[in-house]
């Protein structure tokens, strides 16, 4: 269920990117794609009745049933990379706004 929701989120993001002409909205859509992708990655490693992959004093043995830790590690990386691109995109958006005075692609003319 949640896996399909993740795929639909990615599709939503793609639709948003294709149909929007506002650069801030495009960055928002990009973020939606990333969130959907991250949920999908985590869902690939989920195991029913599995426990979170941390050894503690209550779950102290490695022989118990854990959920897959590798996708979680990958998502940590993906989240940070996403923040990097978002920050850069927003900085570019600010730059574009100071040059053209608008966020709308249609109002910028096609001098680029």
């Amino acid at each position: 269920m949640i896996q399909y929701a993740a795929i639909i989120l990615i599709v939503f993001g793609l639709y948003g990117l294709l149909s929007n002409h506002n650069i801030v909205k495009m960055i928002i859509s990009l973020n939606i794609i990333e969130i959907g992708l991250n949920i999908f990655i985590i869902s690939v490693g989920f195991v029913y009745d599995g426990i979170a992959p941390i050894l503690t004093s209550t779950n102290s043995s490695s022989a118990l049933l854990y959920v897959d830790p590798l996708p979680q590690a990958l998502v940590l990386t993906a989240i940070v990379i996403g923040v990097g691109t978002t920050a850069l995109g927003l900085a570019l958006a600010k730059k574009i706004h100071s040059k053209y005075g608008t966020f709308e692609l249609d109002e910028m003319g096609d001098n680029e």
Binding site: L9, I28, I32, I54, K94
Partner: protein, 83 residues
């Protein structure tokens, strides 16, 4: 259907609803707020899927920092427009 399944189904529906609002909202600031809510809901789904590390990271970075950056961008633009 166990309780986890039901909660996951509810979260999935909410995720899609909020994502739709974020994509279709006319005002930029609304889109940003919905994105933040979407990120927070994804934190819930991470917790449900037993990924506390990811949940913490997404809550702090994805939901907190990214929203702040969006809001700062919009704020500085608003200032420039009213001048």
């Amino acid at each position: 259907m166990t309780l986890t399944d039901i909660i996951m189904a509810v979260v999935s529906v909410l995720l899609l609803g909020i994502a739709f609002m974020a994509v279709s909202s006319k005002k930029l600031i609304k889109g940003v707020i919905f994105l933040s809510a979407l990120s927070m809901l994804s934190v819930v789904s991470y917790v449900l899927m037993k990924a506390p590390d990811v949940a913490l990271t997404e809550a702090v970075i994805g939901s907190g920092m990214v929203t702040a950056l969006f809001v700062f961008t919009l704020l500085s633009i608003d200032k420039g427009a009213t001048k």
